[in-house]
Each structure stands twice: as C-alpha cells, then as structure tokens.
C-alpha cells in the first residue's frame, strides 16, 4: 500500500530532482511497495526511467540508493541532503558528525558557490537549536549572515524576512551560549532594520529577544549573590526587559509570549522590591492572554506553556497545573522546550517548591523533561524533592489531573529519583568532590557478600592499588575517601569506606566494590539487568546516567542518553550534553542497573570491530563486573 495518493515514482523523481537523499530513500521504499508501473515517467534520469518503465523495482532501488549515497558523500553541495544528514546526526546526538558537516558548510560558503536557500538555512539553525548545539549555530550563522548580505539588499519581502529570521536565530544562539552583550549587538540593529523595512513579525521576535537578554542579565546578577542587591546596571536591565517585552505586546496583543513575559517580570520586579514601578495591569493582561488561548482552535505547544504562565500570574496554581499537563503531553515538544519552561518557572517565577500546589507544576515539568530525548533534570534540593515526589505519586487528585499517560511518566520519573538516593558523591581529604559511587545490594553482587549494601565506584576514583593511586588522575586510597549521599535516609551524612571486596584497575573493568564502615538506612533495592537493550537498525534504546552537576554541592542530575552499542564489557551511550561523572550508575529505561559509568570523550574507539573513533560515553556492563566478581570470590 502506498501511504498517500501521490504516485510513488513521481515522489522519487521529485526527490532526485531536489537532490534530497533522505526523501529518495523514502520514495524508493514506497516505490517498491507501490507496484504501479503504468504511469508516464518524466525523463529525469535515464536509468531510473528505464528501470521504472520496466517495473524493475530492485534496479530502481539500487539506482536510487547509489544516487543517494553519491549525494551524501558530497552532502554540502546539495542543501536538502545536507539538511537531512545534519538532522540525522543531531538526532543521534552525534556531535562529531554535526560539527564536521557544519565545518563543510562554512567552507562551502566561503567559496563562491551559490549560497543555500534561505529556507534551508533556517532549517539548519532550527535543527541545531533542537539539540542545543548553540556553538555550531554561531559558527554557521557567522558565515551565512555574511553571504546573505544586508537585509536592505534583498528583493522581495519574503527574502528580507527570511534574512532577518536567520539573524534573529543567530542572536538567539548567542544568548543561549551566554554571549549576551554580543547578542544585543546583533539584535539592536536588527530591530531597527526590521522597523525600517516593515518586517513586523521578525521585529517583534527580535524585540522579545532584546527583552530576553536584559532579563538574563538581571537573573544572572540576582543569582550571583542572593544576599546582595544587584548592581544598578543590572537592576535597570530588568526595567529594560519589561519595556522590550511590553512594546510588541502593546502593538499587537497576539504577541502572547511578549505579554506573558512582561507580566512575569513586572511580578518579579515587585517581589524583589526593585522599586521599578509599572502601571501595567498584570492581572488584566494575564486574563486576556488566557482568554485568547482558550479561544484558539489549535493552540501550539508554546500556547499551552503561556497559558500555564498566565495562570501563575493569576495565582491559580491548579489551573496552571492543568495547562502544564497539556503542555507536557503535547506532540512535538522536545527537551529544549521543556528545559526553557522549567527554567522560566524556577528562575523567573521562582515557584516555591515548599508550596504543594506550585511544587506539582515543577515536578510535572521535570518528569516531562526527563522523558524526552536528551533530557537532563538537575535536582538541587534532593531530600525535599524526592519526598515530595513520592507524596504526589500517592495523591489521587494529582493522578486524576495528570491522566493515565502523564501519571505513568510521572511515576517513572519518581522511580528515577529513588535510584538517585543510592548515589553518593566521593570527596578527597580536602573536600573536593572527585567522583561518584552508589549502593548495590551485597547479595546481588555475590551470594557470599553478607553486607546488605556495598559501595561501587571506579577504580580510578578509589583503589587500594598503589599503581592506581600514582596514576593520573590519581585514585584515592579507601581510607582517604568520604562518601556523602545527596538524598534519601542518609542524605548529608558522611560515610567512610571499609574493606575492598573487589577491584579491577582502570585498564580492565575500572571498578572498585567496598563495604561501608557505617550502616546505611537505604532501603530501596533495585534490580541489576540481566540483558542490555538491543542496538541496531530501528532500535533506539535510552539509558540514564545519574551524576552530579559540576560544582554543585548536595545535588544530582539525571541524564537521558542514547544507547549506541555494546560489546562486553563495554557499553557506549551518548547525550547531547555533558555526561555523568566517573563512577555513576547507568540504568535502562526500566531503571534496572546496567552499567558503571567509566569515561566519556570525543575519541572513543567504536565497538564490535567497527572502524574509527566517535564521541561517546563508556560504561562497564554490570554483568561483566558480576562475572569478574564471581571469578574472584569463587
């Protein structure tokens, strides 16, 4: 059966004409199933036409694949193929490949070849943004903007708007990579140019981003030292942010995100006692925004988030939860979007995690974020967060509001939090956190281990082998290590390590298993997986690393990773962002323990005799460790 009414051969020929390898693959597969050889084939490629006319679908597929392969080898010369290759790399979190493609793109545009169509340029920037590859957006954006020339040079209104859009996305990448002043230097002239040329939608977007820059300046200053007032420059940044957001909303009330940001910042200015006086009717604005969204036939993902924010402005947290639930279940939202909303709710609205109503919204968003490809959830107040997460899981009303699917995701997230209570940070004698470790049930490691719980970490973190202690980085002697749990019944308590039960050095299994000198109250056992998830064509297994955000104290983070490959004893996986720290546990999507995280890097040897290196995280499979322990202990 053919998926739609369009003739599959036409689709194939169109794909070849466009030079779109991804579409060629799809159309070629559809052609094989279509078995319609009576159409009048357009003479695009002689071989394709004759194969199609003969109804030789095997030949047609071969030709198509060969053609697609040729396109891929020179992807940068074919914009559509380039974009599908980039999307594929980004989807696999394959940063190396994405980077190499972007470098090709930059080199190509330094040459005198035809610049990419503006629509493709926008697609490239959106694709990179989706997985937060902001530095690549900036690299690519630099050269694209230069090749596109001034907005005024463009002929049609559509072209002018597209050029403005590319600049705006470039500025957005600068903001997201923390280059705020640079972003402002791009945005301010962009606003002026858009105003001069009547490019209203881009002007509003750029003005909103100016607001975002000022907002971020203020938030950074406020975060820098919560006991001191921000410098006057940064306090005025809040005022500037309010004005930048308010302008587009006042010009056109359809600019909902500007309106809701205005409301959020006016409320924040008031809460922080900044002395900024605004005559805006925030409550009225929020009501109008909400009314407009309620009236929409097909609200977008962002509209759900905006509606939730409007309810926050009205202090109606149950309604905010209801909208956030719709947002969490919306098709097409990705980790980037949920992370942005969560940040807005935590940093700007400063939702109070102590308040059960407000906490519900935060916990829901965290569960939605972790459920998405590449999601990272950082928990800065683990004890309270875990306890509260459990209370909410048992709250029938919360379950009813979330509905079956969202509640399932929520329960799954709570199980992940539970696993994190087994995880501890390891400190050296001067108090530096040097690694991670976790509790495992003694009898699960080996039947002869009588301790209820034993502690597992990397040998390059803790080892009694002098060679490991003298290597770089140097492992701590067990007696020099202090273990502190982030959450659970032992949160904040310092434990000492005792007897070394098993160790295997960093070049082998990189694992040390030790007893704890003090008794732990930990009581949430979990399973060690017998099998690793399958990898290969059509498989997309996800694994979760529980580690510690850099520089943070008592906190932990849960990282979604894509499983790449495994070959005993190694397991490879990849996340779009920094992975977990050494000695972290790696779980499957069922929260069964599968591996001990060991290292990560840009040049890891591929497994299963595949040639070459790639960027990956590497763990040691638990089953390999258990087999080695059994060999040691008998």
């Amino acid at each position: 059966m053919v998926a739609n009414d369009e003739d599959p051969l036409d689709r194939l020929i169109q794909a070849i004409r466009r030079g779109d390898a991804g579409a060629i693959d799809q159309a070629s597969a559809a052609t094989r199933n279509g078995e319609n050889n009576e159409v009048d084939h357009a003479p695009i490629i002689e071989q394709v036409r004759s194969a199609a006319a003969a109804g030789d679908f095997d030949r047609l597929e071969q030709l198509s694949l060969r053609y697609a392969e040729r396109l891929r080898k020179n992807a940068v010369r074919f914009p559509a193929t380039f974009l599908s290759e980039l999307a594929s790399a980004v989807d696999r979190f394959d940063r190396d490949k994405a980077k190499s493609l972007c470098e090709d793109l930059v080199q190509y545009h330094y040459g005198d070849g035809e610049p990419y169509p503006l629509a493709t340029q926008k697609g490239i920037l959106s694709t990179l943004q989706r997985k937060r590859y902001f530095d690549l957006m900036v690299t690519v954006g630099d050269v694209l903007i230069m090749r596109n020339g001034a907005i005024a040079d463009a002929g049609s209104a559509t072209t002018r708007e597209a050029k403005a859009s590319i600049r705006r996305r470039y500025a957005q990448a600068l903001i997201d990579s923390g280059q705020l002043a640079a972003a402002l230097a791009v945005l301010e002239p962009l606003v002026a140019e858009c105003r001069d040329h009547g490019i209203m939608s881009e002007r509003y977007e750029a003005e909103g981003l100016v607001g975002r820059v000022h907002k971020q300046f203020y938030m950074n200053a406020a975060k820098a030292d919560s006991n001191a007032k921000p410098a006057e420059d940064f306090r005025s940044a809040l005022d500037q942010a309010i004005n930048a957001y308010a302008g587009p909303y006042e010009s056109d009330e359809k600019n909902l995100w500007h309106g809701i940001n205005t409301a959020a910042l006016v409320k924040r200015a008031d809460r922080d006692g900044t002395g900024i006086v605004s005559n805006r009717d925030v409550t009225g604005d929020a009501r109008r925004i909400l009314k407009r969204i309620v009236a929409m036939k097909t609200p977008t993902i962002w509209d759900f988030a905006t509606a939730a924010e409007a309810c926050l402005a009205l202090g109606n947290y149950p309604e905010a939860l209801a909208w956030a639930t719709q947002y969490a279940g919306a098709e097409g939202a990705d980790a980037f979007e949920y992370a942005s909303t969560l940040r807005q709710f935590e940093e700007v609205w400063k939702l109070d995690p102590e308040d059960p109503q407000q906490a519900r919204v935060l916990q829901l968003l965290r569960s939605a974020l972790l459920d998405k490809d590449g999601g990272v959830v950082a928990i800065h107040d683990p004890t309270r967060t875990v306890k509260q997460a459990h209370e909410l899981a048992d709250d029938g009303e919360f379950e009813r509001v979330l509905g079956k699917d969202r509640y399932k995701t929520y329960k799954w997230y709570v199980t992940g939090l539970d696993r994190a209570t087994a995880v501890a940070k390891i400190y050296n004698p001067v108090g530096d956190g040097i690694g991670t470790g976790f509790l495992v049930k003694g009898s699960d490691v080996h039947e002869r281990i009588t301790d209820d719980w034993v502690f597992m970490t990397n040998a390059h973190v803790v080892s009694d082998d002098p060679a490991e202690q003298q290597a770089s980085p140097a492992a701590l002697a067990p007696e020099d290590a202090t273990v502190v749990f982030q959450a659970g019944p032992d949160a904040g308590k310092a434990f000492s390590l005792g007897e070394m039960i098993f160790t295997s050095n960093r070049n082998a299994l990189d694992c040390s298993i030790l007893t704890l000198e003090q008794t732990t109250a930990f009581d949430r056992p979990f399973r060690i997986a017998k099998n690793l998830p399958a990898v290969g064509e059509g498989k997309r297994a996800r694994v979760y690393v529980i580690g510690h955000p850099r520089g943070a104290g008592l906190s932990f983070s849960l990282h979604d990773n894509l499983l790449l490959d495994h070959q005993a004893p190694k397991v490879h996986y990849r996340a779009p962002t920094e992975g977990g720290s050494s000695g972290s546990p790696v779980f499957n999507a069922n929260w069964f323990l599968i591996a001990l995280h060991h290292l990560g890097g840009e040049s890891i040897q591929r497994l299963n005799n595949k040639p070459g290196l790639y960027g990956a995280n590497e763990g040691i499979s638990m089953q390999s460790i258990l087999r080695a322990v059994a060999g040691d202990l008998g």
């Binding site: 399932k408 997986a529 017998k530 099998n531 998830p533 297994a541 499957n588 069922n590």
Partner: protein, 316 residues
Amino acid sequence: MPHVTFVHGIANKPPKDQLLDNWKYYLSAGGLDLDANDVSCSMVYWADVMYPEPEADASSFESDSGDVGTVSEDDDLSWIDDVPRKERAFVDSLRQRLRFDVESPGNDEYVAEIPMEPSSEEQSPIPFEAVPLPWFIKRRAMKRLLKDVYYYLFNKPWKHATSGNEVLVRDHIRELFINQLAADAAGNDGAHVVVGHSMGTVISYDCLKHVDACVPVTAYMTVGSPLGISEVHDNFAGYDRRDAFPAEKLGGGWVNVYDRLDPVAFDARLANDYQRERTKVIIDEKVKNSGTWRHSSWKYFGQEVLCEHLINMLEL
C-alpha cells in the same frame, strides 16, 4: 533472549501490532519495559477470526470500559436457538452463571452484585458488593464471553471474518497459537513466558494442556481469567482438578492475577482447580484495579505486582 507470547481476550481489538504496542506500554506503566530489557514479544492474534475490521478507535479501547471495545449494541443471542440439544445444557448453565439476564436494579446505571462462587479458600467471600458498574457494559461482555467460550470449547464452525472461509473455531485458533509459539521458540534459548488475558487464558491453557504439538514454555501467566468457572473447566476433555496443571508443556510456574470484582474472572482463584499431582502450585495473585470496569488488560498490566511476577518469570 527472553520472550513473551501474549494471547488477547474477548471482543474486537486494534490491529495486531498496535495491540502489542499497547500491551507493552501498559506493562511499562507497571514497571516492566520489555524493550529496555531486550525482551522480545509477540501476540497470538485471533480477533480477525471474529471481526472483519480491527478496532479503529484506539482511544475507546483504552477507555474505562476497555476490552469490551466499541460494540454499540449487544450481541444477538439468537445463535443459542441453533445450539444442539446436548450442548444446550452447557450454554444455559453458563448463561445462568454469567447472570446477564438479571435486570439491573439501577435501571442500567449499575449492577448491585457481583456473583462470586463461594470458595473455601477465601477468608472473607465478597457479599453482594455494590459496584457502580454500568450494567450494559457487563451485559455485553458476558454475552460475548458466553459465545466465545461456547464456540471455542465445542469447536463450532464459523465463517472466518476476514478470509470468509469456514473454520472450526477451536482448531483454527489452536493452530494460530501453536504456530506462533513454535515461531517464538525457534532458536530462542531464553525464558519463554505465555501471558493470556481473559478468553486468551482459555485458549492458551487448552493448547498447553491438550495439544501434543505445542512447544513447551518456561512459565505461564493468566490474567482476568474465566478458567475458574466450573462450566469452563468441566468441558475440557479429561479434566481432573487434581492433575489439571499442564505439566508436560509448562516447565516453570503459573501465576494467576485476578481482581475479585472482575466479572469475567468471577471464580478467580485457580490453584485448587488446576493442581499439579494433587498439589496446589499456582500462585493466585489478587490485585485491585481502578474504576468500575475491572477486566481491562491495561489495568491489570499496569499493576506493579503483576510486573514483578513477570520480571521473575523472564529471569530479568
């Protein structure tokens, strides 16, 4: 690689792949993600024998009335008129047991009682418990169960809903089960668990116990099963409760998961009825499903205790 062979129950179902995905999803809600543990699975799909088109509306399938499907009208019971005299006693007796001819005291709003056969095993047999179950849902489900059980147990001829060929119901569905099981077992040296829901437990038990060609499996789970109803087990050839366990084909354990307010599994405990050499070996695991309609597969599969049993059976 561990493998689960599922067998679905009464009423129409979504297409096979979608049904399988649904069941995997329900299990993940209970804490077992089959893919994450590299467990393969398959479905013995027989809905297309009875229905020409799969259930189209997936949302209705997942509604509270779940596995009754979207049947808007009751099954016509005129087929009973054609039941041969010697089989009529079975139909009448089961019909009486299923109690769908009893008028709802609440004018179709609810059924005030769940008929539980008194069991010596139960510490506190349920008195006529008031359950706000929409009467029409129960009535439709029971009528469907009556027909499916009769056609299966008595191997009645039936015009295959998709092929149009006349088939003998039990022979045909047995063949589907046996073939699927054999395909699943081929080259697989891991645990192999059969999980049946509702009428799927009648099919799977019958094959494991009575069909020589059936490949052995390592463990068996029945969910919301009508196997405890005496009219059902008494009509299995050679039934003797003291040796009814399918020991030749079932190397490991049998776990039976039930909700006492599931009207299909109303004689819910199976340990006494399917003993292994006069010993009760089946684990009867009681769960409490949510809502009014307790028979839904998604409610059972979302139970953590069910998933725990399955994890153990799969040796994960």
